[in-house]
Amino acid sequence: MIDKIHHVGIAVHDLDEALKFYRDTLGLHVHAEDTVEDQGVRAALLTIGDSEIELLEPTSPEANMAKFLERKGEGLHHICFQTEDVDGDLEELKEKGVQLVDQKSRAGLAGMICFLHPKASRSVLVELATPLEMYRG
């Protein structure tokens, strides 16, 4: 079902500050930058080999990302795996009774995405993504 690590998500207080390290110091190329209003984040995706690093800054104090930062501080937030068929995978996961955050795929920075509940993988937040150019929904 999954092909590779699409990205690792990192929660940060200030995206521009974080870019100074990940883009300028590590030399990673920023290939997408966007604000996803319904998720309350401003995000940048940086290429690292065949995968990416996603930096996430909350856009408001009410955003989930802001609450995560308050609770745990900056750091690793989630891991996203690329799949050819996020909708098919979701159906399979529902049949198996796996705990989910999203019952249906939705548009995200990585394509059509969904999140599993951290209880499904011992406290790791897992995202599945089908990039739009692969998506057949």
Partner: protein, 137 residues
Amino acid sequence: MGSLNVKKLDHVVIATADLEDALAQWTRNVGLKTDASLNQPLGAGFKVSRLPIGDSFLELVQPVEEKGRFYEQFQERGEGLFSISIEVEDLDAAIEHLRGRDIRVSDPEPSIWPGARVARINQGYTHGVSIQLIERS
């Protein structure tokens, strides 16, 4: 001083209090399987399982001795995403590059992987992410 010459995301470390249960959940719910050919021991203080994905792998680690850096951080942070390992072309050049920018990096040391060497970037510079650099021969 050049750049860091990052090759790829080598692996992602996940800390767990129960390796058998974590492995069962990752296999059942996410579809990843452990690969015995990646079975480099981490040392006496750990139980470890590696799950290949694309050109990278996840490393599930359970500390079994109540001492050491990993155990102390695990006590503080609990289960979940723990660190990322980034493969670089030339570890000595990478360390020189980072130190030239006033970033604290540990001295290189041999890795558990035959022929490989590693160094850790001080977490004060990485926005809360524990980052290991690895050079594979």
